[in-house]
C-alpha cells in the first residue's frame, strides 16, 4: 500500500495521513492509492503538514509497516532513547524497526 | 566590459535562482572598478536579500515576483550596524569603535 507522512508544521511531530486528518500513530495510516501527491499539496497549502511524502508500506500482524527502516524509525522514535519513543514502556520496541 | 564602464548607464545582473550568489560578486566588482550607473538586480530576487544586494552596490531591483514595499523598507532598515566594509558607504562597526582612525 501507499501511505502519506510528513511533519506537523508547528510542532514538527511526525504525522501520518489517517483518512480524515493526521495521526501521530503509524498504525492509523490509510492507503492513499494514487492520490498521495495531490493530498500532500493540499495539506501543505493548508499549513497542516510540512515535507509530506508518499511511501510504500505493508499490513502485517503488528499493523502498518513502512517499507524503509528510516520511516520505521520515524514511526517509533530514536531507538537509542526508548524513553522518548512512542512506546516508552516496551523494552523490545526497537526490534520492530530492523 | 570593464574598460567601457564609463559609457554604460545601466547594467542588469541576472539571478537565475536566489541561491545563486555570483551576482553579489559581479556587482561589487563593477562598483570597485568605478561603474557609476544604474545597477539592477533582475530575476529571483527576494525581500530577505535586498539588504545584501544594496550593500554590494545594487541600486535598483526588478524581481520576477513583485515585492511588498513595506517589507522592503523594513528589510533595508533592520540592521542599524554592520560588520563589513562594502560598497554602500556604511561604516562598519570596527570603524565606529575606533573613531580616532580616519577612514577614506
Amino acid at each position: 500500500m501507499k501511505i502519506l507522512t510528513g511533519n506537523d508544521l508547528v510542532s514538527g511531530d511526525v504525522i501520518w495521513w489517517a483518512g480524515d486528518g493526521w495521526s501521530r500513530q503509524v498504525g492509523d495510516s490509510v492507503d492513499v492509492g494514487t492520490h498521495g501527491d495531490d493530498l500532500a499539496r493540499t495539506e501543505e497549502a493548508a499549513l497542516r503538514v510540512v515535507g509530506a511524502y508518499v511511501i510504500d508500506a505493508t499490513i502485517t500482524d503488528d499493523g502498518v509497516r513502512p517499507a524503509h527502516i528510516k520511516d520505521r524509525i520515524r514511526a517509533l522514535g530514536p531507538t537509542v532513547r526508548p524513553d522518548l519513543t512512542l512506546k516508552p514502556n516496551d523494552a523490545d520496541a526497537g526490534n520492530w524497526v530492523i | 566590459m570593464l574598460p567601457h564602464l564609463d559609457r554604460l548607464s545601466l547594467v542588469e545582473v541576472h539571478f537565475p535562482a536566489f541561491g545563486d550568489g555570483r551576482g553579489y560578486s559581479a556587482a561589487r566588482i563593477l562598483r570597485e572598478s568605478g561603474y557609476q550607473g544604474e545597477l539592477r538586480a533582475v530575476g529571483d530576487v527576494l525581500v530577505d536579500q535586498i539588504m545584501a544586494m544594496r550593500r554590494c552596490g545594487f541600486d535598483s531591483f526588478h524581481p520576477a515576483k513583485p515585492l511588498d514595499d513595506a517589507a522592503v523598507d523594513r528589510a533595508l532598515h533592520r540592521y542599524a550596524d554592520i560588520y563589513q566594509k562594502a560598497i554602500d558607504g556604511r561604516q562598519p562597526v570596527w570603524a565606529k569603535r575606533h573613531p580616532e582612525k580616519i577612514y577614506g
Binding site: 508544521l9 510542532s11 510540512v50 530514536p78 | 550568489g21 570597485e32 540592521y79 562597526v93
Partner: protein, 543 residues
C-alpha cells in the same frame, strides 16, 4: 572571554526579530516551505527525522558558565532535556517546535549567543583549538582571530549565497587538535620575525570526496587577513561549481583548476582587495585580543596531586592535560560514557558542568571537535573535588583518545540523510572494548563513525573509520583504516566489503589484535598501520 558591546548585541537582537518575523510569515502561510527553508537554515533550524532541530553556535568552542547554564535551561524548557555536542563546536537540540524557535534565539541572545549561519551555503561557525590560550606550545591565542572572523563573516553581503557551505578553522600550535586541514580554509598562526601572521590552507574537507587542504600561502600578516580571505572567497564564489551540489565545495574547485591556478587567481584578487580598505585597523584586533588576555592566575600553588584513590589517579592520567601556568591543569570531561550516546549531555549535566566552570575554572569552558568538554583553568588542588562531582553525574569516564572515545554522528536515529544508525554501533563497540586495561593496552586509537557519506562523524579522519551504507534497505558498514585529523592529517582507506553491525565489531577486534601482535615499541595503532600497510589488516579481517 569576548564580551559583546552594544554593536554586537544590536546585530544579534536584530537577527532574532528578523527571524521572528520570518517564522510568523511561515506560520500564516505568507512564506511557502521552499521560500522559508533557506531562511530557517541560516538560523540553524533544520527539519529532521522526528522534529525540527536547532543548531546553536559555540564560536571557536569557548563559553562561560552562564552561557552553558542557558544551554541547559533551553534543553529543559524547550527540548526533551538534553542536547548533542557536535564535531563542529555546535550544540544541537533535537525536538524543537517551530513556534518556539524565535523565543529560543531571544534567550540565547541574552547570553551573547546565536545560531547565525550554523547552516546554509555561507561561512559557518569558526572553529578552533580547545586548548587555545592554555597550551604552552601555541604562538598566540587563535581566538581573537576567530572572533575577528566571526564578525567579518556574519551577514557578509557578498558571501551569503556561496556555491556550498564554507568552514574555517584557526589554530596556533604544531599539534593540531581541530582537524584544521580538513576545512575549506584552515589558518595556522605562525610568527615571522616577531610578527604574527597566518599560514593559509585551502580546499580541505570530508564528505563524499575527502581532501586534505594544500598550503596556498605561507604568510598573511594579521592586518591583511580580512582582505586575503575576501580574495579567497571571491574566487570561490565566482568560479565554484553550482551545477552539482556534490561538486560545489571549494575543494573541488581547487582540485579541478589546480592549486597553482587557484593561488594565482587569489593573489590577483588580493592585490586589488588590499587597496579597498577592507581590513579593520590593528586597534580592532588589539581590542578583541584584550578580552582573551590570560586571566589572573594565582601563584605559589601546589603541584601536588594526591593519587591515593586509584580510580581518581586513572582519571587524572587520562583526562588531565598540561596547562601553561604553574599549579594549573586542563581537565577533559568525557561525553562518552560506555553505554551512553557520544556527545549527548542532559540538561542536568550541562548545568553541573556550568557550575564547575564557575567554581573551579575561572568561569570558562570549551567544547571539542571530538564531542567532549574541557575545563581549561583548573587548580591541581581542585582536581579531586571536580572528579567526585563528575563521577556522581556519570561524567568521569577516563577514555580520552582511547578506542571508546568514539566520535559518532546522530545517524539514522535522528538524521534524515542517514543510511544507518551510528549510535547503537558506537555503543556495541564501547561495550566490546569496555575493560579499562584493554583500552589502555590499545592506547591512542581514534574511532569515528558517520551514518552516511556526508561524513559528519569524521570517519575519513579516524584511525579506524566506519561509514554507514544502505544495502538494499539493510544497514551495512564500511570499515576504513589509517585516517588522521591531527597534524599528520591523512585519509583512511576502505578495507573491502562492508559488514553487519556485529560483523564490524568483530572486524575491529581482528585489526586491533593484529596491531597488538605486530606493534613495535612506542607505536600507536596508526603508526603500525602506516608501517605495515593495508595488506596484513585485510588478511586478518577477510582472511
Amino acid at each position: 572571554m569576548y564580551r559583546y558591546d552594544s554593536y554586537d548585541q544590536s546585530i544579534v537582537d536584530a537577527r532574532v526579530e528578523e527571524f521572528r518575523d520570518q517564522v510568523q510569515r511561515r506560520l500564516t502561510g505568507a512564506l511557502t516551505e521552499d521560500q522559508f527553508k533557506p531562511l530557517r537554515l541560516m538560523n540553524g533550524l533544520y527539519l529532521q527525522l522526528h522534529a525540527y532541530m536547532l543548531r546553536v553556535a559555540i564560536p571557536y568552542g569557548t563559553l562561560s558558565g552562564r552561557q552553558m547554564r542557558k544551554l541547559g535551561e533551553i534543553a529543559a524548557k524547550y527540548d526533551r532535556g538534553y542536547g548533542h555536542f557536535t564535531t563542529r563546536q555546535n550544540l544541537q537540540y533535537n525536538w524543537i517546535k517551530l513556534a518556539d524557535a524565535p523565543d529560543i534565539l531571544a534567550e540565547l541572545a541574552t547570553v551573547e549567543m546565536h545560531a547565525i549561519q550554523t547552516s546554509g551555503n555561507c561561512i559557518r561557525n569558526i572553529s578552533s583549538d580547545q586548548y587555545a590560550g592554555v597550551s604552552a606550545d601555541e604562538v598566540a591565542d587563535p581566538r581573537p582571530w576567530a572572533e575577528l572572523l566571526r564578525q567579518w563573516s556574519s551577514f557578509h553581503p557578498e558571501f551569503t549565497y556561496l556555491p556550498r557551505k564554507f568552514k574555517i578553522c584557526v589554530i596556533a600550535s604544531d599539534d593540531d587538535r581541530a582537524a584544521m586541514k580538513l576545512h575549506d580554509i584552515g589558518l595556522k598562526l605562525v610568527s615571522r620575525d616577531g610578527v604574527i601572521g597566518a599560514e593559509v590552507y585551502a580546499g580541505g574537507g570530508m564528505g563524499r570526496t575527502p581532501m586534505v587542504a594544500p598550503l596556498i600561502r605561507d604568510f598573511v600578516p594579521e592586518e591583511e587577513i580580512i582582505s586575503y580571505l575576501e580574495a579567497c572567497l571571491r574566487v570561490y564564489n565566482r568560479y565554484g561549481r553550482r551545477d552539482n551540489k556534490y561538486k560545489a565545495r571549494i575543494k573541488i574547485l581547487v582540485h579541478e583548476i589546480g592549486v597553482e591556478a587557484y593561488k594565482r587567481q587569489v593573489e590577483e584578487e588580493f592585490a586589488h582587495m588590499r587597496t579597498l580598505g577592507l581590513n579593520p585597523p590593528t586597534e580592532e584586533l588589539d581590542r578583541i585580543r584584550a578580552f582573551f588576555a590570560p586571566p589572573a592566575y594565582e601563584t605559589g600553588l601546589s603541584e601536588e596531586i594526591d593519587r591515593a584513590d586509584p580510580a581518581f589517579a586513572l582519571w587524572v592520567d587520562r583526562q588531565v592535560a598540561a596547562h601553561k601556568a604553574p599549579g594549573y591543569a586542563i581537565v577533559n570531561i568525557s561525553l562518552k560514557p560506555l553505554t551512553g550516546i557520544p556527545g549527548d549531555a542532559s540538561a542536568e549535566q550541562i548545568e553541573l558542568v556550568a557550575g564547575l566552570a564557575e567554581q573551579y575554572s575561572l568561569d570558562e569552558l570549551r567544547v571539542t571537535h571530538a564531542q567532549n568538554l574541557v575545563l581549561p583553568h583548573v587548580k591541581k588542588a581542585d582536581l579531586h573535588a571536580i572528579w567526585q562531582k563528575l563521577e556522581a553525574a556519570g561524567l568521569a569516564e577516563a577514555n580520552l583518545d582511547l578506542i571508546t572515545d568514539i566520535i559518532a554522528c546522530p545517524g539514522l536515529d535522528y538524521c534524515a540523510l542517514a543510511n544507518a544508525r551510528s549510535i547503537p554501533l558506537a555503543q556495541k563497540i564501547a561495550q566490546r572494548f569496555a575493560a579499562a586495561e584493554r583500552q589502555a593496552e590499545l592506547g591512542e586509537l581514534k574511532l569515528k563513525i558517520s551514518g552516511c557519506i556526508n561524513a559528519c562523524g569524521h570517519h575519513h579522519a579516524g584511525h579506524i573509520g566506519i561509514l554507514g551504507v544502505d544495502r538494499k534497505g539493510v544497514e551495512n558498514f564500511q570499515l576504513s583504516l589509517g585516517g588522521s585529523g591531527a597534524e599528520d592529517t591523512s585519509l583512511g582507506q576502505i578495507t573491502g566489503p562492508g559488514f553487519s553491525e556485529d560483523g564490524v565489531v568483530d572486524a575491529i577486534e581482528k585489526v586491533t589484535d593484529l596491531y597488538l601482535a605486530q606493534r613495535e615499541s612506542g607505536e600507536r595503532f596508526l603508526d603500525t598501520y602506516r608501517r605495515l600497510g593495508m595488506k596484513p589488516f585485510k588478511e586478518a579481517i577477510y582472511g
